[in-house]
Every structure is written in structure tokens, then in C-alpha cells.
């Protein structure tokens, strides 16, 4: 079996394991390449009909291309979409220029997700994070318990032996489940290529620039690149000297911002 099929099989196993355990489950879709890959894997796991809702956390600062791509896929793949917004903070004018980036991410992403989890009484959320993205994410488990405050107890994570994932959480806790934790950035692109997955156009070069990682407009900078096809992107990543999230402002504010964001429940 080729290595992409191996990665895929492990992800599908985890997705099915998660669904077996938790019927109150949903998938978090940022519309980026990783969670779109995860979405595709969910379709595969259930032979095309995903039995749970897909959540999009809308900070209102996303790129127009992302909203368009989202709505096209929802129709094409017949998805049950939940849009999560922290309306109260949005009304108050929360943005990356109001206070710190940490605060903005925390309110418009983390707290918006908290509202969705509460409203739908979710016990598990599937997320498309990967170990090679960030040192903090490299310490994650496949099944990661969070308390009601979303706190990640990274100093005391459960043991995770072979493919046996912890299955029980307390009444007010939920699980973050990471089915593509073992994919690298390069693996994701190779998989997108093999599966002929549609992907947001922002990843492809226009006028010598492209986005390597996408999120909110004010906090994402494009990189210099002439990669206009998936093959060219793969070649570029193979030879690059910078890391994937180098264009993401929230990682830069302070060395431990990512750790603090994640401890607060950031995705």
C-alpha cells in the first residue's frame, strides 16, 4: 500500500472511532487546505454522507474567496453547515487592532467556538491540525480532552497507546480529535493532488504572491511565490527554508503566544 493510502487509512480509522464514541460530534472547517482535506476524509469514512454537522467559525474577517468556496462545497457535498460567530464581540467592534491579536483570536475564534459547543451540546470536535505545523501542536494527542473552560492540560495528557484512544470525558468536558495529526504540509499537498481536491484559489500565485496558510485578512501575509499549480506548490515546499506559519501574525506576537492561545482553547 502506498504511503498516502496509509496516512488516509489511519485518519479514516480515527474519524470512525470518534463517531462510534460520540454522536454529539461535529467537524471544524476553516476552509483552508488542511481542514478541507479532513472534510474529504470524513466523506470517505462515511461513503459520501457525513452524518454530523460541519462548523465554520466566522470571524467576519475571512477572505471573500473563502466564503465563496465554503458555500460552493456545502451545496456540492450536501453538508450540514453551522456558522459560529461571536456576535456580541463583533457588535462591540472586536478586531486585530483592538487590543492584542491574542485577545482577538481568543474572542472571535475560541469563544465563538465555545458558544457553538454549548448551543449544540457537542462532546467531540474533529480538527485538521498537524504535528509539523507548530512545536505546540507536535505535542498533541489524537484524542485530546478539554474542560468546560476549554483548558488544555498539556502537562498531564492521557497516555495514548497504539491505536487505543481515551474514550471518556467528564460531564462538562469535550474531546478535540485530530485525525490528520500525522500528515505533513507536503503530505497534504500530495494528497490534494492525488484526490484532485478543490482548494481555495488564495493558495495559488497571483502577481508573484500566494498564501501558504490562510485565515483572517488582517493577520495573513502572502509569501513571494510563482507557484500557480499544485505541482509547483509541492516543488516550492520541498525546497523552502521558511516555516509554514511564518505569515501568521498571531504566532509572532510573543514566543509563547501559540501555547497560551492553545491553553485557552485555541484550535
Amino acid at each position: 500500500m502506498d504511503y498516502l493510502t496509509k496516512l488516509e487509512s489511519k485518519s479514516i480509522y480515527i474519524i470512525r472511532e470518534a463517531y462510534y464514541r460520540f454522536k454529539r460530534i461535529a467537524m471544524l472547517w476553516s476552509v483552508g487546505k488542511d481542514s478541507t482535506t479532513l472534510l474529504w476524509l470524513c466523506r470517505k469514512a462515511f461513503f459520501g454522507n457525513i452524518p454530523f454537522p460541519i462548523i465554520h467559525i466566522d470571524t467576519s474577517y475571512k477572505f471573500p474567496e473563502m466564503y465563496q468556496f465554503r458555500d460552493e462545497r456545502v451545496k456540492q457535498w450536501n453538508l450540514k453547515l453551522i456558522i459560529g460567530r461571536n456576535e456580541e464581540k463583533l457588535r462591540e467592534g472586536m478586531g486585530p487592532d483592538q487590543g492584542s491579536k491574542l485577545e482577538c483570536c481568543n474572542e472571535l475564534k475560541t469563544n465563538a467556538l465555545k458558544l457553538v459547543i454549548k448551543k449544540y451540546k457537542l462532546k467531540a470536535i474533529l480538527l485538521g491540525i498537524r504535528r509539523d505545523e507548530h512545536g505546540i501542536r507536535a505535542k498533541e494527542r489524537y484524542f485530546s480532552p478539554r474542560d468546560s473552560q476549554f483548558k488544555w492540560d498539556y502537562e498531564n495528557q492521557p497516555a495514548e497507546l497504539w491505536d487505543q484512544y481515551q474514550s471518556m470525558v467528564e460531564e462538562d468536558e469535550h474531546f478535540r480529535i485530530h485525525p490528520i495529526l500525522h500528515f505533513t504540509e507536503l503530505d497534504v499537498w500530495n494528497y490534494i493532488k492525488r484526490e484532485k481536491l478543490p482548494i481555495v484559489s488564495l493558495y495559488f500565485s497571483k502577481k508573484g504572491k500566494r498564501f501558504r496558510s490562510i485565515g483572517c485578512v488582517p493577520c495573513c501575509s502572502p509569501i513571494d511565490s510563482n507557484a500557480q499549480t499544485i505541482d509547483q506548490i509541492i516543488e516550492e515546499i520541498r525546497t523552502t527554508k521558511t516555516s509554514e506559519r511564518s505569515g501568521r501574525a498571531q504566532d509572532k506576537e510573543n514566543i509563547y503566544t501559540m501555547q497560551k492561545l492553545r491553553a485557552l482553547g485555541y484550535m
Binding site: D2, S9, K10, Y20, A159, D163, S246, I255
Partner: protein, 407 residues
């Protein structure tokens, strides 16, 4: 380079013997450390008033950096001219043993690192014992900090002999024993000029000698993970844990030993006639059968079907176990309530000594030979035959507290 292959390796050893430093060094020397990450590490090291700390590549929690220890296991990717690797860094402190075990269960080979000044210590022994227990037999020994003993060949040979003898007792026969300095990069990526007496490989060369797990043709095992009803048809979903399955194959449904025939193999948007080892698929059987999660489709009747299982286990939880306390046995997709009825023997892996025979309890970090009594029959194989079907986890109140191997 062969991008198809990724070998997961774990680095284990006593606290402060240099695990994280070696990994940082490997990433740096093979240019797998992005420039912005390097600058971040430099900044972080400076702010703590230290020289460049290669360990910060792996230890990126604030607590890990300020205390200079590894708390949790981390995985990072790295490549040589031969293939890709996932390197798993495991904490050396006894308190974080369950993180070390978590890391070890994901690896196919191990580097055991020993500070040449300190020699074999408590966690060196404990980690080696766990490698042996988990069947991880591909091991290289790294004698680190050779710079601190003036690159002495004598010191190297002495510890090499001692380490080899100790590992052989555990049935581990290391491929190589290497003298290195992780901090200065001696014998890591390039052969050191300071150890002219050493003719063996560098760490990178030694890594490339490890074999990937070979998949032998075995009789199939397909533990049923779930049963989906799609368009009125029952699809058994799961992953092939041994061998392969073809449409038309006649299999046994265990534990009942009922004979069934594979009618269809389902993959999304794909026509399939075979399900390969490690592949997640759906299976439709001919005829009507009552199938549940935890049932096993098997090509033969060799698995042990019993409600009494003898096994070796290691206890990971802080709270010890008393004979008779309820536990949950989990092996592939099987989950059955159980209890340990007998503790024949237990060992302290750090001293490698027998602690007690016919013991009433098992404590943290102890290894024991036990008899598990289950509420109903389970289907298992010997770990050496089919590893996936011969290893298990025990949970107490939903928390994994022990792992075990069936021989």
C-alpha cells in the same frame, strides 16, 4: 531520497543525557530546521541567558524551556538522503513515564542515549526494559558528551562493553554503539576529527541502517469497528490488521466461529476487489449475519478465544492497582470489563529485579506477569505473531492505566 517511506524512531534515555539536544542538532545539521524557527530558538535561548539551546526545537512549552526538561513526548519530521523520519522525543523523568510509553508505542526503532560521564542510570534501565517489553528490538546506543571525557577511547570502550552486556540480558542486540557530542555535532552528521579511533557510522548513517517493519503475508484479521446501514445494506467498517482480504474469501466470524463469505469491499468512489494490510475499508458479507463492533473476521481459527488471558503489563497510573478492582480491557475494537485475578510476579524495571511473587497490588512504573479474567470471551493472538491482536490497554474509569503484551 525515497519519499514514500517514513520511519518512526524514538529517542529514549535518562534525564539530562541529551535526547532533545541530539534531535535539535539532527534537524539543524540536515537543514530541516526552518530559518524562522532557528531565530525563534536563538531569541528564546538568549532571553533565558543561555547559549543556543538545540533542545528548544523539541521542548517548546514555556515550562520545558525555563526548567530545561522535556515534559511531554513530541514528534518531528526530518529527512536524510535516504528517507524521511518521524523522531519521537520522550521525557526522561519517571513522572512522565506514560508520555515515554505513548511515544514508544508509535516507534519502529529506538536510539538509547547515555551520558558517557554518568553511565547507565535508573531511567536508562527502565527505558531499555520498556523497549524490550514492547518488542522494539532495533536499537542503537548513543554515548553522548564524549567531549566531556576528552574524547577518550578508553572511556568509550568501557561503557560500550557494559551497555552491550546489560542490553543483551534484555534480549536487545544493538546495531551500533556510537561516541558523539550532540552539542558540538561530533559524529552526528559528520565524522569527528576528534575521535580518530572510532571507525563506525555517524548517527545519520546509523539511522539509515534501520529496517522498516516488514509486512509478512499472514492470515487476515479484520476487527469490526462499526456497522453502517447505507441504502438498506449493512457495511462492516474497520481496518485490516493482518494479511489481506479479497472479494469471495471465506472467513470466520469470531468469537462465534461462524463461516461467512466476503461479497463486496467498499471504498469511497473506488471499485475494489482487495483490502490490504492497514487499509480502512467497508465489507459487505453474503447473507444475513448479526455482527457487532468487536467481532473479528479471521482467515483461520488460530486466535485464542478465551475469557482468561495471561499477559505482561506495565502500570502507568499514579494510583496502584489492587487485585479484583474492575478494569476495561481494550484490544483492537474489543472492549470487555475485566479484573486482574492473579499477579504471578512483578518487577522493578529500573533495577531489573523481581520485587514479589503472588503479589496483591501493582504500583506505578512496575511490570507484572498477570492473569486477566474477562466478563466474556475475547479474541487475541500472540504479540510475536500478530502484534495488533496481541497488545492491549487497560482503562480504569475511562482513563488508560496500563498497557500489555500477550505472549
Amino acid at each position: 531520497m525515497n519519499e514514500e517511506h517514513i520511519l518512526p524512531i524514538i529517542i529514549v534515555g535518562h534525564v539530562d543525557h541529551g535526547k532533545s539536544t541530539l534531535i535539535g542538532r539532527l534537524l539543524y545539521d540536515t537543514k530541516c530546521l526552518p530559518l524562522d524557527k532557528f531565530l525563534e530558538i536563538q531569541k528564546s535561548s538568549e532571553s533565558l541567558g543561555r547559549n543556543l539551546e538545540f533542545a528548544f526545537v523539541m521542548d517548546c512549552l514555556e515550562e520545558e524551556r525555563s526548567k530545561g526538561i522535556t515534559i511531554d513526548t513530541t514528534q518531528t519530521f526530518f529527512k536524510t538522503s535516504k528517507r524521511r523520519y518521524v523522531i519521537i522525543d520522550a521525557p526522561g523523568h519517571k513522572e512522565f513515564l506514560k508520555n515515554m510509553i505513548t511515544g514508544t508505542t508509535q516507534a519502529q526503532a529506538a536510539l538509547l542515549i547515555i551520558d558517557i560521564k554518568e553511565g547507565i542510570r535508573e531511567q536508562t534501565k527502565r527505558h531499555a526494559y520498556i523497549l524490550s517489553l514492547l518488542g522494539l528490538k532495533q536499537v542503537c546506543v548513543i554515548l553522548n558528551k564524549i567531549d566531556l571525557v576528552n574524547y577518550s577511547e578508553y572511556k568509550f570502550l568501557t561503557l560500550q562493553k557494559e551497555t552491550t552486556e546489560f542490553l543483551n540480558q534484555l534480549n536487545i542486540y544493538p546495531n551500533f554503539v556510537l561516541p558523539i557530542s550532540a552539542i558540538h555535532g561530533e559524529n552526528v552528521a559528520i565524522h569527528s576529527q576528534k575521535t580518530p579511533w572510532y571507525k563506525g557510522p555517524t548517527v545519520l548513517e546509523a539511522l539509515d541502517v534501520f529496517d522498516e517493519l516488514r509486512v509478512e503475508e499472514k492470515s487476515p484479521r479484520f476487527p469490526v469497528q462499526d456497522v453502517y446501514s447505507i441504502d438498506g445494506r449493512k457495511i462492516l467498517v474497520g481496518r485490516v490488521e493482518a494479511g489481506k482480504i479479497n472479494v469471495g474469501d471465506s472467513l470466520f466470524l469470531l468469537p462465534e466461529k461462524k463461516q461467512v463469505v466476503v461479497k463486496k469491499i467498499k471504498k469511497f468512489l473506488q471499485k475494489a476487489s482487495t483490502a490490504h494490510y492497514e487499509e480502512s475499508v467497508g465489507i459487505i458479507l453474503k447473507g444475513r449475519h448479526y455482527v457487532r463492533r468487536g467481532d473479528i473476521l479471521s482467515g483461520d481459527l488460530f486466535p485464542l478465544i478465551s475469557n482468561n488471558i495471561r499477559a505482561n503489563l506495565f502500570w502507568m497510573d499514579h494510583t496502584s492497582y489492587n487485585i479484583g478492582d474492575p478494569l476495561l480491557f481494550r484490544c483492537v475494537t474489543q472492549e470487555v470489563s475485566c479484573r486482574i485475578n492473579k499477579i504471578y510476579k512483578k518487577f522493578d524495571p529500573a533495577s531489573m529485579e523481581l520485587i514479589e511473587e503472588e503479589a496483591p497490588t501493582i504500583g506505578e512504573a512496575e511490570v507484572a506477569d498477570v492473569l486477566i479474567n474477562l466478563d466474556k470471551e475475547v479474541v487475541v493472538d500472540s504479540f510475536s505473531e500478530i502484534p495488533e491482536m496481541g497488545r492491549f490497554v487497560l482503562e480504569r474509569n475511562g482513563i488508560p492505566v496500563a498497557g500489555g503484551i500477550i505472549n
